[in-house]
Symmetry: none
Subunit: 191 residues, 4 copies
């Protein structure tokens, strides 16, 4: 990746990328994805229009990049080597997610929104945000099965969808996602 530097001509100003991502993310969090214009972002970043287009093809790509950088710094894989019960691990993991959901709910709404009309965006959002989190749950459930904490014939795929569906469902419908929901879900999973 560091290899592909053409080393000819003036190098890209990394500060511009940083400024763009920061401004874009802030604006989207404040006003929602659709309400933010490219013009607004580049003005806010003190950067020219073309500079943005030199780095990202669309607003969607820029904003996603910015968001992921933030979000992925915050996923904390549960420690499957610990002896804590898998129910507790699940509950704690969900609580951690719900905490961010509280803060980022509106931007996430924006992304869900953008994902519906822009299939590229949807793919990226799924691959880089949704799927990794689903994977963690999936692994946790399998681990629980192998440890005998979960019935061996539980449909893991379905339960992964149940768990994530439960809070996405509340999210897109604008309902609050209380910390307690994490406990309720974990309890029902391991019943």
């Amino acid at each position: 990746m560091s290899q592909e530097k053409s080393s000819v001509g003036r190098p890209k100003n990394e500060a511009a990328s940083t400024a763009l991502k920061e401004v874009a993310l802030n604006l989207v969090m404040q006003k929602g994805y659709d309400a933010v214009s490219i013009t607004e972002i580049v003005n806010g970043a003190g950067v020219s229009r073309q500079t943005l287009y030199n780095r990202w093809a669309t607003k969607a790509e820029l904003v996603l990049d910015a968001f992921f950088e933030l979000a992925n710094r915050r996923v904390e894989m549960p420690d499957l080597k610990s002896q804590t019960s898998r129910q507790t691990l699940l509950s704690d993991f969900l609580k951690q997610i719900f905490l961010h959901l509280e803060k980022d709910g509106d931007s996430l709404g924006s992304f869900v929104s953008a994902a519906q009309s822009d299939h590229d965006f949807r793919e990226k959002f799924y691959t880089r945000f949704v799927a990794p989190r689903a994977d963690i749950v999936r692994k946790l459930l399998k681990d629980a099965q192998s440890r005998g904490e979960l019935a061996p014939d539980k449909n893991i795929e379905l339960w992964t969808a149940f768990i994530h569906g439960a809070f996405w469902y509340r999210l897109i419908n604008g309902q609050p996602i209380p910390q307690d929901l994490a406990n309720e879900i974990a309890e029902e999973v391991f019943r």
Copy 2:
């Protein structure tokens, strides 16, 4: 309140509303919500721009109205007096929903999209589309409990969210919703 016809001034031409809804819905189903412009809709309906704005404040409201009219003609409450097992009733009900989801997936995506940026819209969408369907499932589960087909200590609210979350989750992530998923869900509920 339902009588509030003002009867003063020229009455609104109902045919215009009908034409607008039909054209709008068709276009959205063909090209997606965002790709359809107001100009396109009014031209297609042979109606003036202002006439649309006299009836709906935004494209979202128009399309929503049009869609509900269609969708609500298609909800079929399961017959709780029948002796069919509640698991089968649930499975059949979900299958029926999934069938429409297949066809209307993109428009539904549009609505979810619009709902994220427009909270009025979200409220309407929830009240008129999401909630009624959730209610049916909730009633069905309670009925199953009272008939002893479902454990009496199952968390009905949570399971309602599980069930709907499962397919909404797939929907917003652009994944197919196979008919078989209905069986899988029903099975897991009544396990």
Copy 3:
């Protein structure tokens, strides 16, 4: 004129006409002809849109009607039987015109404006406002000639144009029309 009453159906409400003319004239004097809309006039008069169109075909006709009613009440034919010098008569007549010009300057501007784009309007404005005033001057000059106060070979038509041109020229260019101009003009005519 009073003959042509059809006497079938509800008679026209004369108060509506009066209100329309009054409102129209006031609005035009305040904001200028172009800035006043039909909608504004009918709302101001508390009258329906159709009622206006039942009486006048265009805004121009209504406004002209209203203006003429006012203006023609104010023309005062100089008394050609008096022994006052014709120069004084002319000067006094012009002074009287200039006085109204001061007040009505902007609406007159509006009419000149409307007259340029609407040839019907131009014709009516000329026939009912400009020409009568020109006629008076023409008659006065001829009378002065017959009394020997004016050179018999003066080109009356041209001088009529000179005299009116002089202040219309100032009017359309937005220059003030001082009372003293009346004296200057009269002096130069009878030099």
Copy 4:
């Protein structure tokens, strides 16, 4: 001050300005000022709507610019060094004006019209079109006085107004301006 080229950013495309002016002027001459829409002009010029608004705030300013460019190429200052009688010079100058008036009468009407409702426009029209022509006449009259061809006590300002008023008066009233009027005016001035 004439050097104030900013030289930053993409420079304005001069061809677009030229095309806009040409199309605008042609359309106005064909159909009259009011009948020409901005949409029509930009389409005709193959230029985007915003490009027009980047250069002129209103249709009036554009058309005025276009017209001046044409008109000012056509003013021909009479040669005050020639020995031709000043009466002939005046008559010839007026004839030259009347010739253009014939062709441009309707556009000029449009400008007079616009000038009445828009005081900025009025100022520009006066400064750039009316006043220069009046100045020429004023100078010519003064020269005639200094050469003894005109009575030294003639009120030059008033006569300048007489002369221009005479044909403007006919113009705004939609009356023809025959070439012979130039002779009549000159004759009366130098009588």
